[in-house]
Structures are given as C-alpha cells and as structure tokens.
Symmetry: none
Subunit: 211 residues, 2 copies
Amino acid sequence: MASKKKVSIAVIKRLPRYYRYLSDLLLMDITRISSKELSSRMGITASQIRQDLNCFGGFGQQGYGYNVELLYNEIANILGINDRFQTIILGAGNMGQALAHYGNFEKRGFKTIGLFDIDPKLIGKKINGLEVLDMETLEEFVSKNRVDIAMLTVPYEHAREAAERVARLGIKGLWNFSPMDLRLPYEMVIENVHLSDSLMVLGYKIKEKFE
Amino acid sequence: MASKKKVSIAVIKRLPRYYRYLSDLLLMDITRISSKELSSRMGITASQIRQDLNCFGGFGQQGYGYNVELLYNEIANILGINDRFQTIILGAGNMGQALAHYGNFEKRGFKTIGLFDIDPKLIGKKINGLEVLDMETLEEFVSKNRVDIAMLTVPYEHAREAAERVARLGIKGLWNFSPMDLRLPYEMVIENVHLSDSLMVLGYKIKEKFE
C-alpha cells in the first residue's frame, strides 16, 4: 500500500468517485482501462487522473492502462472500505429514516447498527429492520457495541448537545446533517453535510447556462 | 426563467412597475389577471402589456390571463430582486419528505412547489403543507407552473426514466439523489449528489487520525 502521507485531502475527496466508476467497470467485467478511457467516462482530464492515481503508487503501465481490480482494491484500502465501520443514526425522522434505508452505505463498508430518537411515537418502530431505540439508552448501547461513526439528523436546536454527547462517548466520527456547522473541542472527526451548497451550485450553473 | 439577452432595455425599464403592481395583486390574493384588467390598473395599453410580457416567455393564456404569482416571480428574477428557483421533488419517500421539510432551501431562494410519487398510499398525503401529487400529472403541472429544478429521489431502477422525462419537459436542472450518476443527451444541468462519497471521506479521516 502507498504511504498515506503522499495523498492530499483534495485527491482523497476524488477517490470515492474513482471507486464508484471502477466498481461499475468491474460489474461490466472490464479488467483494464486507459487513463484516456477513464477520462471520457468520468469527465475528468486524463492528466488529472494520472496525477491523482500516481499519488498512491502509479498503477498505470505504459501501453496497458490500469488494472481495474487492483486499482479498485487499492482505493478501497486507502478509504478504509474494507475496515467496516459501525455506525449509528441519531434522529429517526425523515432524514434518519432515509439514511437507514440507504443500501449503498453498507456496500461501501458502513454498517448501521443502531437508530435512536427521543420521540415515543418513533421508539420501538422498525425501520429497514432496525428498531428505533430510546436516546436515553445511547450510553448503554455504546458501552456494549463498537460504534465508529454517529450520523446526526436531529433538529437544529438539539444538534450541539447530541454531538457533544457522541464525542464524550469516544465515538471517532460524526457525520452531521443538521444545518449547524459543528466544531467541538474534542478529538472526534466531523464531516458537515450541507445539502443546500450543492443545490446552490446547481442554481448557479443553470443561470450561467441558460441566461 | 427568461433569458436576459432577449429582453430589450426598454422593456426592462418598465418591469419595476409591473413588479409593484403584481406585488399588490398578490397581497390581495388575486391569482390571475387579464392584460385588459392590468391595463386599466396600470394605465398602460393592453397590447403594450402583452408585448412586454411576451418578451420573456408570454405567461398569458388565451381566456385565462396571467398567473400573477408566476409573473411576479419572473420579473423579480429578471430584475435580480430574488433569484428564486422553483423546484419539484420526484419521489415522496423518506428522502423526498426530508427535502420537503428542509427549510433552508427556501431561505436560499429555492421554493418547492410540487411533490410527486407513484405510490397510491402517498398520493394525497400532505408533507409540510405540500400535497403529494400523482406522477401521472407531472406534465400537466409543469405546463402550468414554472419549474426550474427537479429533485430526484426515486429508486435507482426508475432514476434514468424519470430524469429523461424531466429533461423532455425542458426543466433546466436536475438535482439527483439516486445512486446512479446520470448523464443525458439533453441541455439540462445535472448535479449528482453522492452522500456516500462524503461518508467515505469521513471514514478516511478517521483512519488517518486514529490508526
């Protein structure tokens, strides 16, 4: 495996995309691909692809291209997909339930093992095979199960408190869907998701293209 | 949304006045108005009104008149008063419902005006004040309402078909939540959202920090 130090976060952020395309190629039984071909599929320049993939060892061979499976496995390794993260979802409202149904996470190595809410109407309900548990039992649950990541979909006003509770439990990562950008004085890694950012990018592109 | 280039500066100069009158009509809950009626209110000839408003798309319909809100929004856009996009959500499952509840979009200028599904159990249900409409009525809805963006939350197997249907309706932007990276031979701008990409980056950061 290539040294992690060589790979910048900008490249890391592009890896999931390579991973998805390589996964599709494998499903089509395509065993090797040139940077040029990959470029036309992905809409990234071939030189960008060569530069990105060279960061972690350069799997391309002159006149051969990339070995799809090798590259796929290597990217999976770098991203930790083979490590299997265990996740919980805090907040079993619409977004929490949508995440609980999202099958792709498990394929990518993220297994949801718990779903929590404070609402008595939701507690006990089964969502995609997972029972909604009482938030009161969170500490007990985490003491009995390895939890690597908490997905946070609670309302804005509860977000900070819930995030701090997660951090105090020693959970390593927080995937935050609340509209609040969370920064906490803990070791925990936080990834804030801002859906409206992506929507605004779309709006801008529309204006630029059609006006 | 009309192209600014098509509208002459003479028409543009009259738009603030239309905007003020239409704003008053909205406050009075007047939803449609004929060019004749608008003419008598504004002291501009009806033919001038039709000519002006036809410059940017002609929202008047024979025997119906102008949809006041549509016209108001259109003028606001052209004038840059509020770059408001009108959106519809295709798929009223968990993710669609979560998007319908997401208050931030409207604050950013994206107003959801329609929510569609094929499931009879969902059709007719009210989600955050929006009634779930039958997908069968999509074409009719789009012919009567300006729709800039479709948010796509239908299952994987229906994604391509739904996206092509949206493109054929001339909707300019597609915000795609289905796990399928969509590329279509249409003018439509597509923004593919891959939630698991962000989760994979979180996984990488956790590995890097804690291992």
